[in-house]
């Protein structure tokens, strides 16, 4: 039997044993995980069947057609996209068995405790300290820009375990219990009026050594896996024409001829073309991934989306003229999801400003493209061989 046929047969077995209409959502998701149909490229026993990743779409389509419940991936994006691949690669057997299933079903939400006020683009300079005390590590410090921290059960955390070596060498990667009494989550209100993310204060948080991922001092390498997966996950989806930020403005243009001006028309067409080209670039990347030949285009997708989202949403506010002077709602909220289409143009404009900062600034991503894709030399570094404790702060 081919991989596809095997997966289809297994999917139908799952549906027969757990008919979606009268199975509890979580029960269904747990059964799906146990059947190896959660993420088919994962190992058996951990939600997968060691099948080619590209065949996930076969399973998903079959389940969707049968009306099966999903795991709402947008709500648990950090767990799925960042924590899970890192646990899979660096976790012990025990850690994989403990964390991956509730992560995938969405029973346990994850967040990421990486950035700090003094360590943004230069993440390796982070100062949150973890000190060994017996079987535990005691963690003190402050993290920032933490989405979902107020919902999260667990966090992936990087902290400094050795200040006497150069900054990349003294970092260790942990799984942090967000219910620990030493974890304090404070909302951080952003320019949209909402608070999607948080500041997280860590005061004498005790993490058992059994929740360490990877070796002591190897946290930077472990974190690279997390960050690579964050950027790769953007390229994987197929987007229809006008599927992104260009959709709402095109709709407004068509439905409201009274707003049209020649000047906006030219810019709209220019951006429509760019949006279509970025969509095609993503589709090309997807076709390469299906063949198992990922191209370097992935590095550029986030850059391209950030710029497009900002330019299109900016033009949309302008197109609206008098209405562009208004804003839908400044109420402080704690949204579970970022929803670009459920809000008005002003929200889109403001929220898109974060696209070139979150998950790696566009400036840093341009450096990555220049150095890793084009092979241009890195800037001279003055911090490489200096112990972390002696760095300028």
């Amino acid at each position: 039997m081919t991989d596809t046929a095997r997966l289809l047969a297994r999917t139908r077995e799952l549906l027969t044993a757990n008919p979606p209409v009268d199975t509890d959502r979580l029960d269904f998701l747990r059964a799906r995980f146990d059947a190896g149909l959660a993420w088919v490229h994962y190992p058996e026993g951990l939600g997968g069947l060691c099948a080619p990743r590209s065949l996930q779409t076969v399973v998903d389509a079959e389940l969707e057609a049968a009306g099966a419940p999903g795991n709402d991936p947008r709500r648990i994006g950090i767990g799925l996209g960042m924590a899970a691949p890192t646990i899979l690669r660096f976790g012990t057997e025990e850690q994989k068995r403990r964390y991956l299933k509730p992560l995938w079903t969405g029973e346990e939400v994850w967040c990421q405790l990486f950035s700090e006020s003094g360590a943004g683009s230069d993440l390796a300079a982070l100062g949150t300290r973890a000190v060994r005390e017996g079987k535990d590590w005691v963690v003190n410090g402050q993290k920032v820009w933490t989405s979902s921290a107020h919902l999260a059960r667990w966090a992936i955390l990087i902290a400094r375990t050795d200040p006497d070596v150069p900054k990349h060498q003294g970092i260790t990667y942990f799984i942090c219990d967000m219910t620990d009494p030493g974890v304090e989550v404070r909302p951080l209100r952003q320019i949209t009026g909402e608070a999607e993310f948080n500041e997280v204060f860590l005061t004498d948080v005790r993490i058992p050594d059994s929740r360490r991922l990877g070796e002591v001092g190897d946290g930077w390498r472990v974190a690279q896996t997390t960050l690579m997966n964050e950027r790769v996950s953007i390229g994987g989806m197929r987007i229809p024409r006008e599927g992104g930020m260009i959709g709402p403005i095109a709709k407004t243009w068509r439905e409201r001829p009274e707003l049209r001006t020649h000047e906006v028309h030219q810019r709209l067409l220019e951006l429509w073309v760019e949006a279509e080209v970025v969509r095609l670039t993503g589709e090309r990347l997807r076709q390469q991934l299906v063949l198992g030949q990922p191209g370097p285009e992935g590095s550029g997708m986030k850059l391209a989306f950030a710029r497009l989202n900002q330019e299109i949403s900016g033009l949309e506010v302008e197109l609206l003229g008098e209405e562009g002077l208004l804003y839908d709602d400044w109420t402080m909220r704690r949204p579970e999801l970022v929803d670009f289409t459920g809000r008005e143009a002003g929200y889109r404009y403001l929220r898109a400003k974060g696209n070139s900062i979150e998950g790696g600034t566009s400036e840093v991503l341009l450096n990555i493209v220049a150095e890793r894709v084009l092979g241009l030399p890195a800037e001279p570094r003055t911090d490489k061989d200096v112990p972390w404790k002696d760095l300028a702060r």
Binding site: R254, W272, E274, A304, N367, G375
Partner: protein
């Protein structure tokens, strides 16, 4: 579904064309030819056509062609763009050939496919697929009038001429006066064509044939522009790794790295857009109009910027006649007008995707 990648056969074709061009079409030779009396490289054209059969890619085998598609022709054009090769490939093997295909089978098609003749469409190179057609007068059974900006006319054996009876006529080059113009891009020469009672043979309806020919020309021009852009980026990256100032390679300065990374991103986009247009043309997709307009509206500024960035980042040497960057700048700038400007393609798109002007 649109296939945006290159097949193994397409990569093999690319390698063969690139090998030939590396041997036979170096930059110094192209620069020297640009000041000579024969702007076209006829011997290179022979090698590409007699040797490799590339003139007949779009023509079915039973008519003497190779029975390949626009996808393969696009790969050839990428390589010709990379080398700014002065050969009439786009004009004869794509545009004139498409016009003849639109008119039905004809003996002339086989001659073009086997490169026993070079043909060119007697429509100004600047004309967009949607532009109103400029025609000559049909009077007393012969053709009269003057057409300007006809690409590769000086090397053509036969011209395909639209006349005011709505017909497209095959006219022997020996029956007209071809006067070279001084072109911005010396690697794609232009000429005026004067018809003073020239006999012509009616091939079919001019308007649909010309529209189809120019649409294919515009769509595949994006692949030539991709070749230009990719070459300019590659050459500039290589140069900036070698060139040292302030005791370090200038390619290590962030201000320059960001510009090149940005350009790389645009070239990656152009590759997707050009493949999309070539695939749409190859499969006769319903989406040809949008795919071609998107590719052209995107390609022209990218190719021009790639050449302009190359010139600036090469510094003084980039401004010299002996350095090849000017060949690419001139070709890229001319290409930004050829088969319709960005504005013309955007206007076409506005209709196609229902984003109408105020």
């Amino acid at each position: 579904m649109t296939d945006l990648l290159y097949s193994e056969e397409e990569e093999a074709l690319r390698a063969a064309v690139r090998d030939l061009l590396t041997d036979r079409c170096d930059a110094a030779g192209v620069i020297a030819r640009a000041e000579s009396d024969t702007l076209h490289d006829v011997s290179l054209w022979k090698a590409l056509t007699d040797g490799m059969g590339l003139a007949g890619l779009l023509v079915p085998e039973e008519l003497g062609g190779q029975g390949a598609t626009h996808r393969e022709a696009a790969v050839v054009l990428e390589e010709l763009g990379r080398a700014v090769a002065p050969v009439p490939y786009l004009t004869s093997a794509v545009v004139a050939t498409e016009a003849l295909l639109a008119c039905g089978t004809d003996d002339l098609l086989s001659r073009l496919a086997t490169a026993t003749a070079i043909g060119t469409l007697a429509v100004g190179l600047h004309a967009a697929p949607s532009a109103p057609l400029k025609t000559v007068r049909l009077e007393g059974g012969t053709l009269h009038g003057k057409l300007t900006g006809i690409a590769d006319a000086t090397v053509a054996d036969v011209l395909l001429v639209p006349a005011d009876d709505d017909g497209l006529y095959a006219v022997d080059a020996s029956a007209v006066t071809v006067t070279p113009q001084v072109p911005l891009d010396l690697t794609r020469p232009l000429a005026t064509v004067t018809l003073d009672g020239a006999p012509g043979r009616r091939l079919g309806e001019a308007a649909p044939a010309v529209r189809r020919a120019l649409s294919a020309g515009a769509g595949l021009l994006a692949s030539e522009q991709l070749g230009i852009s990719d070459r300019m980026l590659t050459d500039t990256v290589r140069y900036l790794k070698e060139r040292k100032q302030f005791n370090r390679p200038v390619g290590g300065f962030q201000a320059l790295k960001h510009r090149l990374a940005q350009l790389w991103l645009e070239v990656a986009g152009l590759r997707a857009a050009a493949r999309n247009a070539a695939d749409a043309l190859a499969t006769g997709s319903e989406d040809i109009g949008v795919a071609v307009a998107v590719a052209q509206a995107f390609a022209a500024p990218v190719a021009v910027r790639a050449a302009e960035e190359a010139l600036q980042l090469h510094g003084g040497i980039g401004m010299t006649w002996e350095h090849p960057v000017h060949l690419y700048l001139k070709r890229a700038k001319a290409d930004s007008i050829a088969y319709g400007t960005v504005g013309a393609h955007r206007a076409a798109l506005a209709e196609l995707v229902d984003l109408r002007s105020p």
